[in-house]
Symmetry: C2
Subunit: 139 residues, 2 copies
Amino acid sequence: MKYLHTMVRVTDIDESLDFYCNKLGLEELDRYVNEGGRFTLVFLAAPGNESAQVELTWNWDPEELSGGRNFGHLAYEVDDIYAKCRHLMDSGVTINRPPRDGRMAFVRSPDGVSVELLQRGEALPPADPWKDMGNTGVW
Amino acid sequence: MKYLHTMVRVTDIDESLDFYCNKLGLEELDRYVNEGGRFTLVFLAAPGNESAQVELTWNWDPEELSGGRNFGHLAYEVDDIYAKCRHLMDSGVTINRPPRDGRMAFVRSPDGVSVELLQRGEALPPADPWKDMGNTGVW
């Protein structure tokens, strides 16, 4: 038995790929377009960690993608949580829970999927601008 | 960058561990009990696949755990999808999408989290009772 992926639905595939790949840092591994079923599946993973994937499901016909409470978040370990959050923030992503502790941050995808970022190994020393940055919204 | 886990919230930790471990086949790797915060975290993974985990968050104070549409499902590859579904069904789990094709099935956790099961490698030949079994609900 082996974990394959977590599937999340997206309303705008371009906006979502921009978030998950350009901003968060995942890579596209595979794509399946079903013209008859009017949906596209895109499989993403962290570089070098292809066995644990995120599947984006984009149904071409518009639908409301509400959030729920039973699902919490996707979590990724990152090499430098400050550099990652800086890149995300400079790309226009709100850092809902800044890494004040040098260890943990939360952001959200364009469809409201919460993503946790955790510093690999020991927490980094407190640093500006993160150490005094307040929370924004919920995650 | 590396995938760590998908977090899902649960309302009843015993019922959830029964589902995810005894029925689905994951193993408990770690547990963190926070008396002050009144929550318990339990980390699970498929045997031999400890690097890709599911984190169960159990908040001790009751809360409504609605489902949403932005999250889709967790997916696991299994060695024998018929044996896995038989074990789940015999344990009282509804097979929402039976493996009629010998390849894919869906079930739901006690809190409504959809779980996809995919046969490793080639699809199995069609077999009773699965090949004629209808769907139940949504997944």
